[in-house]
């Protein structure tokens, strides 16, 4: 693992392992159903069957945290895949072709960058109806402008690079040059950038859904769990404690791993 070369990466790996062990135990030993209700167990504290206790409807908090983390990862991954795919396509073309195309794409990215996440979330929820699709669209649109600028800058600097000009001088066509010389050169930096975005996108999902502007019941994500915890702050502090600590720990592990990746691949630090 490259990420382990730096201290931050090692800390991240350690934390990820620390999170994975109870997860593996829970998956192996417990009947995990995030939706199963047992009203007799409402607000139950931690026990052998429910290691983190239950919420107000008697649903197992550990099961809901595991399911919610999965949803949040899936949403962040989907949103980033959209943002990076569109970003590489539009930013790459803008930087490579230049001229008017470049100006239009940049203007569009600037325009979208002017919309804060909150505005995007409200508009997306109004147009698509609140829920998973609106959340993925919001996060993708929010992440797109910086991806475009990054890919454009990479394409621009590669266009005039020696190896690209050499390929052109040897008679390579534009498609061949892009496929064999441009894409491999930008893949690494684009991947690092995407890895660094996973944590912040997950935090954004947790915040927006936690406010009620994102994922809606009965779907479970880290955000909806925070929302449940906030609603029942007085009744059960163990719900909000377990939820917020899990979200923070997961985001921290992801961020540290990404940071470790960036630091070990940064030529200035080798």
């Amino acid at each position: 693992m490259i990420a382990v070369r730096s201290l931050a990466g090692r800390a991240g790996l350690l934390l990820a392992a620390a999170l994975a062990m109870p997860l593996a135990l829970a998956v192996l030993l417990l009947p995990l159903d995030p939706a199963a209700m047992d009203l007799g167990q409402a607000w139950a504290g931690p026990s052998a069957v429910h290691p983190l206790g239950c919420d107000g409807l008697g649903r197992d908090i550990a099961a809901r945290l595991i399911a919610g983390t999965g949803t949040s990862f899936a949403i962040a991954g989907l949103a980033l895949a959209l943002a990076v795919g569109l970003g590489v396509a539009s930013g790459g073309v803008a930087g490579w072709v230049g001229g008017r195309t470049d100006a239009v794409v940049l203007r569009l990215a600037d325009l979208l960058h002017g919309f804060p996440e909150l505005s995007l979330a409200i508009v997306a929820a109004a147009l698509l109806g609140p829920g998973t699709e609106a959340m993925v669209l919001t996060l993708a649109l929010a992440a797109w402008p910086s991806q475009v600028r990054w890919c454009r800058a990479l394409a621009l600097s590669n266009r005039t690079a020696e190896h690209v000009r050499a390929a052109a001088a040897l008679g390579a066509g534009p498609l061949h040059t892009v496929r064999r010389h441009l894409l491999p050169a930008v893949a690494g930096p684009v991947a690092i950038r995407a890895a660094l975005s996973i944590g912040p996108v997950m935090v954004a999902e947790a915040t927006l859904s936690g406010l009620g502007l994102g994922i809606q019941e009965p779907a479970v994500s880290l955000g909806t769990l925070i929302r449940d915890g906030l609603a029942d702050l007085r009744d059960a502090s163990h719900l909000i404690a377990a939820t917020t600590i899990t979200v923070a720990a997961v985001a921290l592990a992801v961020n540290l791993l990404a940071e470790g990746l960036r630091e070990s691949l940064d030529p200035r630090r080798r």
């Binding site: 201290l7 931050a8 800390a11 203007r107 600037d110 325009l111 960058h113 002017g114 919309f115 804060p116 996440e117 909150l118 505005s119 409200i122 508009v123 929820a125 109004a126 147009l127 109806g129 929010a142 944590g199 912040p200 935090v203 954004a204 947790a206 915040t207 927006l208 936690g210 406010l211 009620g212 502007l213 880290l222 925070i226 915890g229 906030l230 702050l233 502090s237 909000i240 939820t243 917020t244 600590i245 979200v247 923070a248 985001a251 921290l252 992801v254 961020n255 540290l256 940071e259 200035r268």
Partner: protein
């Protein structure tokens, strides 16, 4: 060079002109953004699944004739394009419509009541976060090889990983529900982000030859950082911090919700949850305006430190 003595300090009388020049360059983009924001705000308040009139009469006996009359009064029987034009025209007169939830209350009145709270919260947090973030970032850049540098890096990653709702809840439970704690909940993540950006920019500058020259002529570490590294890092830093505005707004909404502060963020969240579409649509516009205001303010505040802008000398 203009032949003036180098190192001359103090505000120039040309400053307002230079600031205006900076703003003028951004004007076309801002006009385009304003247009897009009005369109987005209209879409959020009008093009909806669900009928606002049904929401108005919800729970009351209403005959179809009355529903039709209400719809005509609100202009909802017109095509969307016509509705958009009248929405934009009303907006220019400062009329954002009426709240659906609080029947008859103008949206502008609701926003006007909520805005001072949000601005106070953000100003207090900025006063805390900017100095703290820049100081921590400088320290982290200077000490990057030693353990304090690593600790600061990990600390800033930690602050970025805690969702604002979680941090706000912890601070409220650990401290109290008063305004200073709310400001702290907003300022801490902002300071962490500013610290990271400062560290990156300052480390970039520290690699230059003139830093080595400054060290070679015997300047102390702190003097090199404050007199040479920081001023040269401030301009890119201003742009980078300005781009944090969106995240700061989301955090503000989270803090207001947890601490039950009657600001714009809480008003918006409650409006969305209650399907008060006119207020939610107006909020889309207000958040865009707030984001522009934050990023311009930060750019001006930090940009004032730009010697080309501040000192009497060569024009920009």
């Amino acid at each position: 060079m203009t032949g003036r003595r180098p190192g001359r300090r103090g505000l120039s009388w040309r400053l307002p002109w230079r600031l205006t020049g900076r703003l003028t360059r951004r004007l076309p983009g801002l006009v385009l953004l304003a247009g897009a924001a009005v369109l987005a705000s209209f879409l959020a308040s009008h093009a909806l699944p669900g009928d606002p009139v049904m929401l108005m009469v919800e729970g009351r006996a209403a005959d179809p004739a009355m529903i039709r009359r209400l719809r005509e009064d609100a202009g909802l029987d017109q095509p969307l394009a016509v509705q958009f034009l009248s929405y934009a025209l009303d907006l220019m007169r400062g009329d954002l419509g009426q709240s659906l939830r609080y029947g008859g209350v103008p949206v502008t009145a609701l926003l006007g009541d909520a805005l001072p709270m949000t601005l106070r919260l953000m100003a207090g947090a900025a006063a805390l976060a900017l100095p703290l973030g820049i100081a921590l970032g400088l320290a982290a850049a200077d000490l990057r090889r030693a353990w304090p540098g690593t600790a600061l890096t990990i600390g800033s990653v930690l602050a970025l990983s805690v969702p604002p709702l979680a941090l706000a809840t912890w601070l409220m439970l650990a401290g109290s529900g008063t305004a200073p704690w709310a400001m702290a909940a907003l300022a801490l993540p902002a300071a962490a982000m500013i610290a990271r950006l400062t560290r990156t920019q300052v480390m970039e500058v520290l690699g230059h030859d003139f830093i080595r020259t400054a060290r070679a002529k015997g300047l102390g570490r702190i003097a090199v950082l404050l007199r040479h590294a920081l001023p040269n890092a401030l301009v890119p830093l201003a742009a980078a911090v300005g781009s944090l505005a969106g995240t700061i707004l989301t955090t503000t909404a989270a803090v207001e919700t947890v601490f039950a502060l009657p600001g714009i963020g809480r008003l918006t969240v409650q409006a969305v949850l209650a399907r008060d579409h006119t207020v939610a649509g107006a909020a889309v516009l207000v958040f865009v305006l707030l984001q522009v205001a934050i990023s311009l303010t930060v750019e001006l505040l930090i940009g004032l430190a730009d010697p080309r802008l501040r000192d009497d000398g060569e024009a920009l």
